[in-house]
């Protein structure tokens, strides 16, 4: 079976799961339930797709299969923003209660942060991508520490709210935010389209890419901005969820066994959707909200990785 067929099959599974999620046990007030479910599934699809997409591009830029956009420090920054708001204004403040304001503010700060970081680092000669990652990691750790610092100072009830923000949750996503996210993602994709052809070549590494005529710094900087925007949108929409990318993209590479980014990106988006929609379905219908989707995905992903390790082991 070649990678094209596999991609089509993945698309089929993703679609089937989405439909299952929308239509499963659909009774009672359909006019109320159906639109709510569609919004929810849209949010899941957007998040899964955006994270898978961003992680694929990020891994290609860095030529590294274990790095995800979380090393840019974006989800740490998100947690810092949330905790800071609670610390200063309290959990009952308008910024915390009104999800639109919170969303817009988080997204703006995260994107601004990335732009400032890139601008600062790409200025001058030191345009080394690993230097950027190092700074991102250090800042991420700093944000984490600062978050913990504020968390221990606030009221225990406020602390619960702050902690709750640390788990990705799709249960109370507002529909306006979903529409807004769709808009931002479409803009990012349109911008991405000009750079799409470079991805296969970038995967060869910097020297080969430059040899083949890619304006490396120019292209990589713009791709990094797209990665930041997509990550920011997904994080602001449902919470820190970049862990999903590592799993999804590695599974995609393992499953498709090709280098062609057109298929890798499509397939990773589908696998991202399958993982999130499937996970959410299990959370809602089997565990009846007793657990979070992060737990399910990490569990299944962990099992898959152990399987990969065992399989690799045998072939030695």
């Amino acid at each position: 079976m070649d990678y094209k067929k596999k991609t089509v099959i993945l698309a089929g599974i993703a679609l089937a799961l989405t439909l299952l999620y929308i239509l499963f046990d659909l009774k009672g007030n359909i006019g109320y339930i159906l639109p709510r479910r569609i919004i929810k599934v849209l949010a899941i699809v957007l998040t899964g797709g955006a994270i898978a997409f961003a992680t694929t591009v990020f891994m290609t830029i860095t030529n590294n299969r274990i790095l995800t956009p979380s090393v840019l420090g974006l989800d740490s920054l998100y947690m810092l923003i949330q905790t800071f708001i609670i610390f200063v204004f309290g959990s009952n403040s308008i910024v915390m209660m009104n999800s639109s304001i919170n969303y817009l503010m988080s997204i703006l700060i995260m994107i601004l942060f990335s732009l400032v970081l890139y601008r600062f680092l790409f200025k001058g000669e030191k345009n080394n991508i690993y230097f950027l990652l190092l700074i991102g990691m250090i800042l991420g750790t700093f944000f984490n520490s600062f978050t913990s610092f504020m968390e221990v100072l606030i009221d225990p009830n406020e602390f619960m709210v702050a902690q709750d923000r640390g788990f990705a949750s799709i249960n109370n996503v507002h529909k306006d935010l979903v529409y807004l996210s769709i808009g931002i993602i479409i803009l990012a994709l349109l911008y991405f389209w000009r750079f799409y052809k470079y991805l296969d070549v970038l995967a060869l590494g910097k020297d080969d890419a430059v040899n083949l005529g890619v304006s490396y710094d120019y292209v990589v900087k713009r791709l990094l901005i797209i990665v930041a925007v997509l990550t920011a949108v997904a994080t602001a929409l449902v919470g820190p969820i970049t862990f999903l990318g590592l799993l999804v993209v590695n599974i995609t590479y393992e499953f498709l066994k090709t280098y062609r980014h057109f298929y890798i990106i499509l397939a990773s988006v589908f696998i991202g959707i399958i993982a999130l929609v499937g996970g959410q379905f299990i959370v809602e219908n089997i565990f009846t909200f007793q657990t979070t989707i992060s737990v399910i995905i990490n569990f299944i992903g962990g099992v898959y990785f152990i399987y990969l390790l065992l399989k690799e082991n045998r072939s030695w």
């Binding site: 296969d200 590494g205 430059v210 040899n211 083949l212 005529g213 590479y253 090709t258 280098y259």
Partner: protein
Amino acid sequence: MVEVKNLLKTYNHKTVVDDVTLKIEKGTMTSFIGPNGAGKSTLISIITRLIAKDSGDIQIDGKDVLKTDSNELAKKISVLKQSNSINLKLTVRELVSFGRFPYSKGKLTKEDEKQIDEALEYMELTDMENKFLDELSGGQRQRAHIAMVIAQDTEYIFLDEPLNNLDMRHSTQIMKILRRLVDELGKTILIVIHDINFASCYSDNIVALKDGKIVKQGRACDVIDACVLKELYDMDIEIQQVGDKRICVYY
């Protein structure tokens, strides 16, 4: 013609390329020799825009390298670096196809396919074109990379130690192919090489570098000289004339 003027590159106060000025004629094969750390690879990387220079001037066919559009430049010069650790699931043919990227941006035309076929044939890789790179031996992989550079079909070809990991048979095979590229297709080849006998036997000109400075540049027979090599490697090297070839005995 490749013209380099007063090229300078320092890393943390250590000068790696020190005021290098050289001229490479079209249609020749030039070898860069010298001990480890002489700045050969850095020099090649700077000329081919992989590394930024500190100062100096590089012109290829009268045009400043840094001011030329990168994609246009990729149709004129190609470069292959020492370490080729690609960890993608790529077949030989797919790798070679990348050489056509500057022309077709990933959508291969008939002309591209023809060039790829020729490059594969040149490097005798046709029968293993569908093998994955990670199934190949080091030497075969090296040949696949050179095939990619050949498919790129540029006037100037820069190779950084292309004989790494190759046995004698494949080394001579590659040097003969490079020679053919120069003699039959009129390419200009610049090559970093450690084995001075290969440099002596196959290249037209040799540039000898030490500590970032040019010790001597000129025709191969002039540089392969006991005095020059003594200065370059700090060891006594005897030179024997075998047929029309000058062979260095340093064992």
